[in-house]
């Protein structure tokens, strides 16, 4: 039976947490745990979800959960899986929830190692496109042009000058058993991917875009809406990598207006027409690359 709003577990495993109102990351963690259930051992590095989930004695995870070192999400996943195996415990999932900084910058080496060893773990990166927990500093998954506290919008340099790292492709290039991208704006797709990943053995990676109202400069009720729009305008994509093949799950026949997406967020408000054209060009190039990957 396929999982959906009706068939999903009614139990809540991420409840009473102290995330900001309208938090996209919290939604990603909540839904993933509802799919995986109580027998999921969650590992969280330094980042929003550990900061809001573990405020002793307020412990918001309803399943086993532990905070790892910032760089060591994937290493701890490996260790927990080995520990469980040594005890003969097999009917469980080992899942990590790391942010974009904890995945693409600080934890990349550990993740690469875990994939190389093909440890039986699920790694979920909730990507809010900056170090939101510490005050919106740029990460390597911050998109071009975004204003953060370390890439301010000035007269000459207008926000982040570097493009977003191709994290999904980096992971897929390891020949990982399963990798996928998702968006909290399209939860059914995310649920399907977590469900699918849970039934595959070996290392699995899901990269879910999870807007942050505080860091992106949007209203708290716009999180889901903007997570849909980023897919609809082509600046994010829903894809899968499995057994050497790339699949694009959603190919909008026509992208929605990029300027509408950008102008809704205060982190992009300083951008000039020239900057928007750069973003548009890079989007079109990115889709060409993705389609080439799919058709190769």
């Amino acid at each position: 039976m396929s999982l959906n709003a009706r068939t999903l577990s009614e139990e809540e495993f991420f409840y009473g947490h102290k995330a900001c109102a309208g938090c996209g990351g919290a939604l990603a963690v909540r839904i993933a745990l509802k799919v995986l259930g109580e027998r999921a051992f969650a590992i969280l590095p330094a980042g929003c979800m550990s900061a809001v989930g573990f405020n002793f004695p307020q412990l918001c995870f309803g399943n086993n959960a532990i905070i790892s070192t910032f760089a060591g999400t994937a290493s701890m996943l490996t260790g927990v899986r080995a520990g469980l195996q040594a005890q003969g415990i097999t009917d469980c999932y080992v899942v990590g929830f790391a942010g974009d900084g904890g995945t693409a910058d600080i934890g990349l080496q550990a993740l690469s190692g875990a994939i190389d060893r093909d440890d039986d773990v699920l790694y979920i990166c909730y990507d809010n496109e900056a170090y939101m927990n510490t005050g919106i500093q740029k990460s390597s998954l911050t998109p071009f042009g975004a204003r953060t506290t370390t890439t301010p919008a000035g007269q000459r340099i207008r926000g982040n000058i570097r493009p977003k790292k191709n994290m999904f492709e980096i992971v897929a290039s390891h020949n990982i058993p399963y990798a996928a991208t998702a968006s909290i704006g399209y939860l059914q797709d995310f649920i399907n991917k977590v469900d699918k990943a849970s039934r595959i053995r070996g290392t699995r990676y899901i990269h879910v875009i999870a807007p942050c109202p505080t860091g992106w400069g949007i209203a708290v009720d716009e999180t889901v809406d903007i997570a849909r729009e980023v897919v609809d305008c082509g600046l994010w994509y829903l894809a899968e990598y499995e057994q050497g093949h790339y699949t694009l799950n959603r190919r909008p026949s026509e992208f929605t207006e990029i300027t509408h997406y950008l102008s809704r967020q205060s982190r992009f408000r300083h951008l000039t027409q020239e900057d928007v054209e750069v973003i548009q060009r890079s989007r079109d190039d990115k889709w060409k690359q993705l389609e080439a990957l799919q058709n190769r």
Binding site: A5, E10, Y15, A21, L27, R30, Q58, L59, L187, V224
Partner: protein
């Protein structure tokens, strides 16, 4: 089952666990005070599509309950932060955001009249 508020809050050293682990899902504080507006669900308009339940970042909208009615949803106001994602996601317009202070005043007056009646 939803996680619930506990009465026991460890306060002294001897009440703290000796190792680094503690019971999962141990809640001692509410998030209700964060809210300036609250979602109110109109059961007449609700068609039970469960999209608000699915998309709530805090998981405070729950289904199939005595006060909610079968196929309908209700809100756990102890943990709702009033973000309003549910109102935006609702296709039938069954959810409206109401001023929290007014809602509290209304609740208090209902309670008072209930006591007198």
């Amino acid at each position: 089952m939803k996680p619930y508020l506990r009465d026991f809050i460890p306060r002294t050293l001897s009440e703290l666990p000796e190792d680094t682990s503690y019971e999962a899902g141990y809640l001692v504080t509410k998030n209700a005070g964060w809210r300036s507006i609250r979602p109110v669900i109109n059961p007449e308009k609700c068609v039970g599509c469960l999209q608000c339940y699915l998309y709530c970042p805090d998981g405070v909208i729950y289904k199939w309950n005595e006060d909610a009615g079968r196929g309908k949803v209700a809100v756990d106001y102890d943990f709702c932060k009033g973000c309003g994602i549910c109102r935006r996601i609702c296709k039938t317009g069954a959810i409206s955001m109401v001023d929290e202070k007014q809602a509290l005043a209304q609740e208090a007056s209902q309670e008072r009249s209930g006591q007198h009646g």
